[in-house]
Symmetry: C2
């Protein structure tokens, strides 16, 4: 069985016991989280979130990109969130290579360099601070009173403030 | 107590019982999911994912953007994932406005139009198909043998293939 089939199979039992039909779209906690796609992070378990509680935005690294700014702006403008957490993590893959090395490897494989950067970083805490600052100074993010940055430790499950 | 404090408070109990210190970075199921940031979707519960199982990429809409392509390329290139699911959902906020209306509202509020598009859509199934096609034809996504598209029904918890 492919992994995709395995997920769809599980989804049948989830739907059979589904209990969230009346949950609304605006996040109950008025909060959005930006974090990494990393498989070791389960934001719902790590932060105790129930369906309906928070927007969760994830990409490689938990880096604050244009697409994250787009998502956060929509989150605040239409769905009334007010608080933002940026959560990057220890042992992140983006700490292990450089944009240039990545582009070169892709060029060797495909014959072309990607039109985007990998957005690797060398200093985890600095990357979190940069993300928080980008959000705080973005002209389209209206509510910047509670934007905070954290490192999630994949070794302990603990988040620590940056 | 702010919502942020509430999450951090919960994280202390999560860390106290943390059981995943030995989980590795490469997703066990060799799979990546692209879905919406919507608060009603909990991919881990809906698909039965344990920490370590899958990459989860989320933005407003679950739209396949450059940032999603960046994330998927890193997922496959460095972390050896092979299958991809694109999961958008019923009652998505991006079905309720247009890019132009959004840009105009932001201009009224801030005096400027955003340098990015909101990426609203009118046809949910078509948006899923477009995302799947964009991934299948992207030159930097090496493994396109299992890329599938789904609609998650927030009314039932069920995913249906597109």
């Amino acid at each position: 069985m492919s992994a995709t089939s395995q997920l769809l199979h599980h989804n049948q039992s989830y739907a059979a016991d589904f209990d969230y039909a009346s949950v609304g779209a605006p996040p109950r906690l008025k909060l959005a989280i930006v974090t990494c796609m990393d498989a070791r992070i389960d934001p719902a378990r790590a932060f105790g979130l129930e369906p309906g509680d928070a927007h969760v935005i994830r990409n490689a690294g938990g880096v604050v990109t244009d697409d994250v700014i787009r998502s956060l702006t929509i989150s605040q403008h239409y769905l009334r969130t007010e608080e933002i957490l940026v959560v990057q993590h220890t042992q992140c893959g983006l700490l292990t290579f450089t944009d240039e090395a990545f582009a070169r490897e892709l060029e060797l494989e495909t014959g072309a360099r990607p039109p985007w950067q990998a957005l690797a970083f060398t200093d985890l805490e600095k990357s979190v601070r940069d993300g928080v600052n980008r959000i705080r100074t973005d002209p389209f993010i209206a509510r910047t009173g509670s934007v905070s940055g954290f490192v999630y430790e994949v070794e302990t499950g603990r988040v620590r403030p940056v």
